[in-house]
Symmetry: C3
Subunit: 344 residues, 3 copies
């Protein structure tokens, strides 16, 4: 498995974990069952009953207790066995993983629990602060390594080949700058005096020329905030701005959970634009990105990325920096340097 374990991964949207219904989801290679305990807090347990290995997710949740659907052993949110229908309660439990609910998302830490600090979860308060009418969320399971999905957002030039009919391409004359920080990678794309296209045209068709702006901010393992907006040429004020959260979680080495949330930052009341953006986004993600990236994974097979000797182009600058940063985190974990690995 080629991803860090001592890190917070998004495991679900908060709304996916409802009362009485356990959710099975494999995160970073670990099969988990997610459910709400007696206080409504989300619990994440190893989805394997210690008795006979049935998935707990096939059982039921009552009053915050999950019981195995096969022989009835019951576990609380800490993974402690608290009831055996047919005899003394066994001391053996099932492993509980650190879990946090924040910014409308459920976060799970698959590694060393002692290192799990919710303060390390990326600040996504813009999700909390955007009214429901001005945003939408989605989940797209994808048969590709999660880094191929990060690469996709870190190199937006692909829009010129893949998204011309939906989100629109990167405009001619765009300038790209990639910058490495201690905590991640930032990539900015700017273009001046260009015709609005794709998403921008959907929001501001009345302008013939605008200054366009895209900013992508990546944090490990696969968390990206992507701002896209437009200003009147020469102005400093955004007439239009969309902020999207792209969250890639490894399921296995070759499959991923892709969570996304798109929020409007300007023109919040205009639900027509939100709907238009939503339609274009689903078109782009499901019909354009997903088939291409899954085909890319299929051609790569199980080979390690660098072993295939990719041709490095200028547009890869941001994605390559992010990959190298993540490689270091994984290498440090494998070397046992958990502090380095856990630092975000």
């Amino acid at each position: 498995m080629n991803f860090p374990m001592n890190i917070w991964y998004q495991a679900a949207w908060a709304e996916e974990i409802v009362n009485d219904k356990p959710l099975a989801r494999t995160i970073a290679g670990v099969p988990l069952v997610l459910f709400r305990d007696e206080n409504g807090n989300v619990a994440a347990l190893h989805d394997v009953c210690p008795h006979r290995f049935a998935p707990l997710s096939r059982g039921k949740v009552e009053d915050g207790i999950i019981s195995c659907g096969y022989h009835g052993l019951a576990f609380n949110g800490s993974g402690k066995c608290i009831n055996n229908l047919h005899g003394p309660t066994p001391k053996v439990g099932t492993r509980a993983f650190p879990v946090a609910e924040r910014h409308e998302a459920i976060w799970v830490w698959p590694g060393n629990a002692e290192l799990a600090d919710p303060a390390k979860i990326r600040d996504l308060s813009f999700l909390d602060n955007t009214p429901e009418t001005a945003k939408f969320r989605g989940y797209m399971p994808t048969k590709a390594n999660f880094q191929l999905l990060s690469d996709n957002i870190l190199d937006l030039s692909h829009a010129n080949s893949l998204h011309l009919e939906s989100l629109g391409g990167i405009q001619p004359g765009f300038k790209m700058e990639a910058r490495e920080l201690d905590e991640g990678v930032e990539v900015t794309w700017t273009a001046k005096n260009v015709e609005p296209n794709g998403l921008t045209r959907a929001a501001m068709s009345e302008y013939s020329l605008v200054d366009q702006y895209l900013h992508c901010s990546w944090r490990p393992a696969g968390l990206l905030i992507l701002d896209g907006g437009a200003k009147m040429p020469g102005s400093d004020e955004f007439l239009e701005m969309t902020r999207a959260f792209h969250s890639m979680t490894p399921e296995t080495d070759t499959t991923s959970h892709y969570f996304f949330a798109v929020t409007r930052i300007t023109d919040l009341e205009n639900t027509d634009v939100t709907e238009a953006v939503k339609k274009l986004t689903y078109q782009a993600f499901y019909n354009e990105d997903k088939p291409m990236i899954e085909a890319q994974q299929e051609r790569m097979g199980t080979a390690e990325f660098w072993s295939l000797r990719p041709a490095l182009l200028a547009i890869d600058n941001g994605a390559v920096r992010a990959r190298r940063k993540l490689d270091k985190i994984v290498a440090a974990e494998h070397a046992g340097d958990l502090t380095a690995a856990a630092a975000e």
Copy 2:
């Protein structure tokens, strides 16, 4: 492959082997073709033509001779090649396996033919002696190791979680006793003064309280007779009794053939009860047991059972004894002690 080879496995119900129609079935990892020879006796041949490896089961049976559908080589029930359409008959044959038809079932011995003695087939004469109107038979291929299926019957406590809506649970206050014999394992469950539920209710709804009784008798590799009945409280006479045969045959390490036959022992003329029992049984087996046990296998993957360190509970007593007995038989076979392995 983790199962004995020098043992009789049920390969089919007798009625499955009809004239002119070869049946392909893999038993204990060996692809077999089953058909009736010129005397109506069932033959079991390696289902691979020695000429070019086509499955003989794609050929045709005429007058008890099976001929390969590809180039026409013909074999009798002993696996001897008796005709080559296009030249001299080759000396090479295909391996024939010891086979017996007994108690409405077809039995195959995949191991050393010299050790195969039909007298070692478990006595199931109750199947022969029950009229057709008071019984039913079934076959349920299952994507799970055959021992997971034996475990399921040896530990009936699972009914309280899985079968409450169909067969009914084990009643509160039930007492379980497991006993090991030279030839197998016996488990008895009894409860006094309980309300009839599930199967029992179907048969005797007019009684408000009964004494319930369940008895499971396991023989290697995966043959179980399960008696379930009820008496008037304090009485010795069964008002109601069902006797079921559960027969688990390994196909591969992670897939099985599950044959079952359920017979009524009391109240034979009441076909309504037989129909009710049949309906509940199919509900329990196909919709409740099978999905759970296949999910259990999926979580276990290809790991060896004990290597996963299952939590051992009191209710596992019978199943664990059966597993340990079978482990010894397999170990003896692997060590070359065929006599021990063949002893039932």
Copy 3:
């Protein structure tokens, strides 16, 4: 991979490669994209973009240039990168394979390009010279090793078991002769004074007795020309003759591309007969040969053919000679003797 690489394989029928539409096809284990360059010549490139490994076949072809659908890198028919939408054109290209269009087919040489000489392509000018009304072509992907498909044509005795209802069997009293040449293997089947059956009956039902003739000419790796015809008993003149081209190309070790073309040599204007032959051929190939050969492959698994110790019969003479010849070619390639391997 157990097949020669320094050899011409049929990769497609010429008509499959149309303007603007790249075709993805894996030949001898190599994923290829086939398209027409600016001169209308077919190009065969490694179907993996050197930038990020997306399949080029998911891109588009314009004016003979293929561009990757992901980031837009464009390649000419030589595999040279000639455009990068987003910066300087990188020096890295994708591998181009020797390709030739001849006899209505596209031929690819997956091995050492320096050894690729189109003069080595088998002469199939009969395909060019037969009018469209008197022939038909097909393509049948098959889940079996390509040599199992060659074996099938080299041993026509299988028709007596498999094709009695379609193409007709080999007649009683047929004589088979197999002959080995430097360049391949020839097998002839003759029968005198037999009733027309199958294909022959379709063409000449007015004759009650004929002399039948079948001639199969194999060249490595899997190219066969099969003549089938009939004469008046004792005559030298064919009243009826069909010439078929069978072309088996390995996709992987256990899957193949089966191309076939059937031409009428006599009675060219009689399109009714051509239609009848076509119908019988499709029946035989798709419903009779393909399921049997795929079942044969399934039973063989990934085992090497000779390791399974096939029973060798007289009818195998031609197929065994062809296999041994091919084994030598592969062994010579593995030993580095490219000249021997390339010699046809």
